[in-house]
Every structure is written in C-alpha cells, then in structure tokens.
Amino acid sequence: MKKAMVAGLFGLAVSAPGVALAEPIKVGMITTLSGGGAGLGLDVRDGFLLAIKQSVNKDIEVIVEDDTMKPELAVQIADKMIQSEKVDILTGIIWSNLAMAVVPNAVAQGKFYLSPNAGPSALAGAKCNENYFNVAWQNDNLHEAMGNYANTAGYKKSFILAPNYPAGTDALTGYKRFYKGELAGELYTKLGQTDYAAEIAQVRASGADSVYIFLPGGMGIAFMKQYAQSGVGIPVLGPGFSFDQDVLGAIGDAAIGVKNTSQWSKDLDNPANKTFVETFQAEYGRLPSLYASQGYDTANLILSAAAKASVQDADAFRAALKAADFKSVRGDFKFGNNNHPIQDIYVREVVKEGDVLTNKIIGVSLEDHQDAYAKECKM
C-alpha cells in the first residue's frame, strides 16, 4: 500500500514539472468559524483553500478546525494537530491573544507557523522565532500608516478611540508613533461594546478635526452607523479592518468617503491580484476582503516553498519560505529579519460601485514599511 502510494507520488512528480519535490505537506488551520468573529476566519480559510485548489501541487492536505475565538480551545486543537495528526505547518489564527497562546509552543516543537492575520508585537520583537512567519502585517503597521496619512492630509487635532485590550492599545500607540498633531481626546472603550452614544457626544464636544477609530468587526459597524446618525460630521479615519468587504455591507452608505489604510486592495493593479479577485468572486459569490487576500498569500507562500524544498528538510524549507518567492496579490513582498513583511501600505477610500460598497486606492502612505520591533529581534 505504502509502496503504491510512493510510486504514485513519484509518477506525479515526474508528470508535473515544476513540482520537483512533491513531498506531501500537511497543513493544520486553526481559525474562527463560529461566533461573532466568524466572518474573518471564513475569509482567511476561503482565500487559503482557493490558492490550494488553483495549484498544480496536489500533495497539500489541509485540515481546518474552528477555535470559536477561545485561546484554550486553540491550544487544544494545536496540540492535537501536532501530536496525533502530525501536521508540518500550522496557520489560520485571527486574534492576537490566541496567537500568543499557540505560536510560541508550536514553533518550540519545531513546527512552522505562518500567520495569515495576527501580528502581536511580542512575536515581532525579542520573542521572534525562525519558524514563525507573519504573512499579513505586524499589528501596529496599518495604524502607523494612518498616523502618517493624517499628517499629509493636514489633520492637526485627532480624537482617537480603541477598545481597551492589547491590540487596542497597540493600535493607538501605532497611530501616535507617526501622527504629529495634537490629540483632541483619547478614549478606550470596553471590548465588544456596541453603543457609542457617550463617546460620540464627547467627540462632538472636543473640537477635533478628525476621528481615528480602531474598532474591528461589529464594534466598527455600530460606531459608524451611530456616528452617521449623530450628524457630527468630522472625518473618520481607520485601519482597513473596520472598512473592508466583510463589514461594509452592514455599515451601509455611512461608510462612503472614509479613508482607511491597508496593505491590499481589490483594485491593486497586478496580474496575481486580478486572478485572485476574479476567481474568488466566481468561487464564492462575494468580493474578497483583506483577510481573504492574506489567506491566499499564505497558501501561495507555502506552495512556493514546497516547490523548492521538502518540508522534512526544515532548514531548506525555512530558507525557501524566507525567500518569499511567490506572486503576492499585494505586489512587492519580502520578509524582514524578524520574518515579518516589508511592504507598501496604501490609503484607500470607501466608494460605491453600482450597489456595492468597496474600496479604491488613493495613494501610498508608507513605502517598504517595516515594523518598529524588528531591531529587537536577534535574527
């Protein structure tokens, strides 16, 4: 039986040039598929599986499990995937607190971890690891880009707002790292809060000339709808998370004109992105979000490394990953010393195309941007 399989694999390797080392790879994907944050996990998963489906390499097996946004469950799934399923690569986690619970342990056991979304600062700096690759961004990146854009747009008095949890404080830190004006106010809200009347009243009274919000998922939808109704009218700025395809439909026209930052946009002009957007839409019947693009890039990175080296040869495979020799949908992409991306971050504006709300690029905020923690990483 085993011999037959090896023979089969050999045949496949011969018949498909370019897949020189068709060593089977087992990928374990732990992501959020139920509960309030499920939209993000679904997009990462669908983008990832789309790339696998399009590839000529048919020796990649993907196991997907739902972490329901709970760190303890994610840890259990990771243990099971490593010990009994014997996966070679782990990926998929959306939330930074779950990544912090899973990643250090997994890489300590010699597994590769490729992050399609979360980029906590701790894993980018002193605790960086040669087996941990972040294919999305370091958490602060999009916020830094927006702080930088606020300067060029001439905003001098920003009111900034984020939930009171690590990624929220990171977000405002990132914004303030680049923003040069003064702050009209700084507020931390409860994580998961859905009524922002009290905060919006303070924005109105503060005399700010811009509002920066980092409110992912349902929080952002609630804020934007209430903000539009309140008639305050001060321009809103935010990272792409609050203004991407997964939530725009629910915010509605209130989002039109909002400037946001992202490393990816549907209208980025490169062949890989055109194929991605078209095939994603054909396959799933909806427009991809930045999360889907990150899942897609992650899978293509694995495929590019698999074409060069066997995953059993960890050193060669690691070098192949680090080379990032794949066509990213965001155009140029390379890894810095800490295995986090060095990439352009764009400013986008929410527009309406027909009936559909979506984003279009209006400029580049930071070119070849690298995170602030890279120098603390001894790699």
């Binding site: 598929l33 139920s34 509960g35 309030g36 499920a38 939209g39 679904l42 009171n164 404080t169 702050l183 106010g185 700084e186 507020l187 931390y188 809200t189 409860k190 998961g192 859905t194 009524d195 009347a197 009290a198 905060e199 009243a201 303070q202 109105r204 009274a205 998922g217 349902g218 939808i221 609630a222 709808k225 209430q226 109704q229 309140s230 008639g231 997964d246 939530v247 439909g249 629910a250 915010i251 509605g252």
Partner: protein
C-alpha cells in the same frame, strides 16, 4: 456647552436603560411567574433583530420589519416554551441553565446557517433619522428619543396589563401560588406559554430597535443578556418595577461612568494614562454598584412578594 454634553449623556443613559428594561422585563417576568432561568433570552433578542433586518431588506420598510420581529420572537418564544421549557418547570435551576444554554447554541448556529456569518444591514427609518434640538443647546438623535418613548410606553403598558387586566391577575396569582391557581381551574399551561411569548416579544422588540443602531450579527444577544441579569438582580428578581428602576440605574451609571471617570482620572494621571485607568474602572462600575446594593439589600431593591 458642558451642560449640553451632560444632558446628552443623561439621555444616552436613559436610552440605554430603556433598552435594558425591555430585555429585563421579559426575563424577570418569566422568572417570577414560572421560576425558570432563561439564558436563551439573548437569542430571542438576536432573532428579533435578524427578523427585522431580513424583512426590512426584502420589503424596504423598517416598520414591517418591526412587526415581523415581534411576531418572530413571540412565535419562537411560544415554540421554545412548548418544546423545551415546559419540561423544565419541575427541574432545578441547574437543569434549566443547561437546557437554555443549549438553546443559545442552537439559535446561534441556526441563525448562522440561515443568514451566514457576515453581519446584516439594518438602518433607521427615514422618518426617525436626524437629530432634534433640545432646550439647553443640546442636540439629540431622534431615533434614540423614540426608543425612550417606546420603552416608557411599554413600561406603562406592562403596568396596566399586570395591575388591571384578568390576564395580569392570573400572572400575579401564578407568581404567588402556582398549585393553587391550577387547582382553581385556570389553564396554567396556556398562561405560561402566553407569558413566555410576551417576554420573548419584548426581547425581539429590543433587538429590532437596537439592531438599527448597532450591527445585526450572530452572538449580539449575549452581552445584553449579562447586563439584563445584572438589572434584575439589582431590581429584585421577579419584580417588574425593580426591572424598571434597575435598568435606569444601570443605564445611567454605565453611561455616565464611561463619560466622567476617564475625564476625572485625566486630571491627575494625564490624558493617556487617565483614559486607560478610567476606562477600566468604568467597565467595572455597574458590577461595583451591584455588589454594593446586594451588600445592603441582598434580595435586590424591590423584592418580589414570594
């Protein structure tokens, strides 16, 4: 300007309280009359929001959506009572918690299966959009004022229903002695179904009204459910009056705390530090209030007559 801000925040607190009252009234009614802890109350709230969003999207009318949310939540409440809750009256609270927790999971995944994982769109009806001027220079959103009015109307309606009608008399009788009212020939099973459906309809109404302000998504009911439990514990479990006072108290304390605490901490800790510490304290504030009230009145402000 500062008084205007304060007036606006007090109204925000009232509006939040009114919304909590709609949730807490059903919860406390169901507990008071039937002795059931219904964790699935948040799911009925979510159901109301989804029904409203779906019907509003299909017909273009928020008002039809509102009617649909009441009907859907009441129907779901009645079905749940007939199929599940009815079997739990004689069990202890642990069994009830377990069964109604299972209902949360069933409702959540069922809704996801029907509507998908992405949030739905529901907007405020054009009639109620925009803001109005208030005395004192404050401007306040019309829709939120409407929520306050609806909430007060529901409170008066519930009072009249329970104090003045035959149904209300039976509900009160059911609260004080279940066996006796059954022995007197009142159809207690139908009464329970009606009370449950009424509580569910109130939750559905709250869900639909709030859904237009916030995001309509799976899992939106659970955070509200926790606050609704805080409200009925503060107010005294089983008491509608307690639910009203408790809801107003929680709404005002939470909103004003979120507004004033970061502000006052900023004075001596600086803006950034003050904002973090103030926000952390503000999110604890209602639980501190609850603990204080329970320390002095262990059975809540308005203990139901049991």
């Amino acid at each position: 300007m500062q008084t205007a801000l304060l007036i606006e925040q007090i109204l925000n607190g009232l509006q939040f309280g009114v919304m909590l009252f709609l949730m807490a009234a059903g919860l406390t009614l169901i507990f008071g009359v039937m002795g059931v802890i219904n964790l699935a109350h948040g799911s009925l709230y979510m159901l109301g929001a989804f029904a409203c969003a779906a019907v509003a999207a299909a017909t273009g009318s928020f008002w039809l959506g509102l009617v649909a949310s009441l009907a859907a939540a009441a129907a779901a409440g009645a079905i749940v009572e007939l199929l599940v809750i009815r079997r739990l009256y004689d069990r202890d609270h642990l069994d009830q918690v377990l069964a109604t927790f299972a209902l949360i999971l069933i409702f959540s995944e069922g809704t996801r299966w029907l509507f998908g994982s992405f949030p739905l769109y529901l907007d405020i009806p054009p009639l109620l959009s925009g803001a109005v001027d208030l005395p004192g220079g404050a401007r306040y959103q019309l829709y939120r004022l409407a929520i306050i009015v609806v909430g007060i109307a529901v409170a008066i309606g519930l009072y009249l229903l329970i104090a003045k009608t035959r149904l209300g008399m039976r509900i009160r009788a059911g609260e004080s002695d279940r066996e006796m009212i059954a022995a007197l020939g009142v159809d207690i099973r139908t009464l329970y179904t009606i009370v449950f459906a009424l509580g569910a309809a109130l939750a559905g109404l709250a869900g639909a009204m709030v859904g237009a302000l916030q995001s309509v998504q799976v899992g939106m009911g659970e955070p509200v459910l926790i606050l609704a439990f805080v409200v009925i514990v503060i107010g005294g479990i089983g008491s509608i009056k307690g639910a009203l006072v408790g809801a107003a108290l929680v709404g005002l304390v939470d909103t004003l705390g979120r507004f004033l605490l970061p502000l006052s901490f900023s004075f001596f800790l600086g803006p950034s530090q003050g904002a973090t510490v103030g926000a952390a304290l503000a999110s604890m504030l209602i639980y501190v209030v609850m603990a204080l009230i329970l320390a002095f009145r262990p059975r809540g402000l308005f203990q139901a007559s049991t």
